[in-house]
Symmetry: C3
Subunit: 164 residues, 3 copies
């Protein structure tokens, strides 16, 4: 747990995208900011919720439509597609292999590290409702479920706001 | 029309994307901010201009290239594709159905609501020129056409800036 | 070189995307801000690094994986794909033709102009390492290679932060 320095500032990210490359970018920024003593909050919404899903939560959802949505909306932090070129999974596999060779942590390692550094993960209430997900579908590192108003209360006093 | 509270802050969004899911995210943030008394401006640029198009404006454009661009650049607020999975329109239809079941407003309803709450919609001058669109192609809720300099004048004093 | 006005504020962009349309949006914002006397920094990361590549740098990389990544991760500022519709290059060609007709500068012209106006281009250290790129692969307009911490030090005091 990093001690937050006074006046170190804060970063609030909206993580809308569920692709591996964008998630990596978000966690690189989040952990770098936390290492500088900045307060960091990530608001996970829409496809970004996939990043917080437990591996077994893949077919969650109360009705058939939601189950289909979650199926298509595939992936957890271990298995995300990429913005460009997926090619039957070859793109993400290559990125992971190259990051491994360069000693860049994997996404699940980044999530754990960010959590230990004090980065907060907030799932978006409305997206969860639409997708039929509950707090139980998410990893334990997750903080409480919040809505857009709570996100904005935090964001309006942040030094850096990004939509990823 | 919401009364803007002093010091409630402001939100300025660049809406570059024309997909339904990103547009929904933008309007959820915009209406939530307006409900908190924040000043909200949305600058619509590139594909985001589709969101402001009247239903019948689909084949606007002064020459054949622009007409093709507008045709490919398909959709109005009623008929947008999604970032992921389109599957002959099944993705957006599912999202709409699920949002309907959960009583989340549709995009045209969100646009109307945002306008009534005082959110301002500014179409980007340069994108309009490139795409051969004029102010007449857009819905009546639209404010005046502005350029990037006007956008930045607003953005530099905003609490929350996002590129969506 | 534009003289920076006191209190004109600053803009810091993360350019993650390598598509032509997003790159154009970033450079329109950057040059507009510079014309207002604002300080402008662009941090190029992931696919955004393509925009900085020299034309001949296309197959850079120290090993076969990196070479494949760079091949797929195709393009330099002269040859970028678009977010939507690529259609064997017809989309970007159309956009370029239409922008040409409307006297909007091309991306290489925008890069040169932005540089002359004092906009700084910083390539992201970690992305370069993963992709096996070195400073020599980039155009001369490029400033020094920096990491996420340096980006955040700049971003936290900026008026406008965007992730594109």
């Amino acid at each position: 747990m990093t001690i937050q320095k006074d006046n170190a500032g804060s970063v609030t990210l909206v993580l809308f995208s569920g692709e591996l490359d964008k998630a990596m970018a978000a966690f690189i920024i989040a952990t770098s900011a936390a290492s500088m003593g900045m307060k960091v909050n990530i608001f996970f919404t829409f496809w970004g919720l996939n990043i917080l899903k437990k591996d077994k939560a893949r077919f969650a959802g109360f009705n058939i439509m939601q189950r289909m949505m979650n199926f298509m909306n595939f992936g957890t932090a271990r298995k995300l597609a990429m913005t460009k070129m997926n090619m039957a999974g070859a793109g993400p596999a290559m990125l992971k292999m190259m990051m491994g060779q360069k000693k860049v942590p994997t996404l699940p390692a980044f999530i754990k590290m960010a959590h230990e550094m004090g980065v907060k993960f907030y799932p978006c209430e409305m997206s969860m409702k639409v997708m039929g997900l509950t707090k139980e579908d998410f990893i334990d590192e997750c903080s409480e479920v919040i809505g857009a108003v709570s996100y904005l209360s935090e964001a309006k006093d942040s030094n850096v706001n990004l939509f990823i």
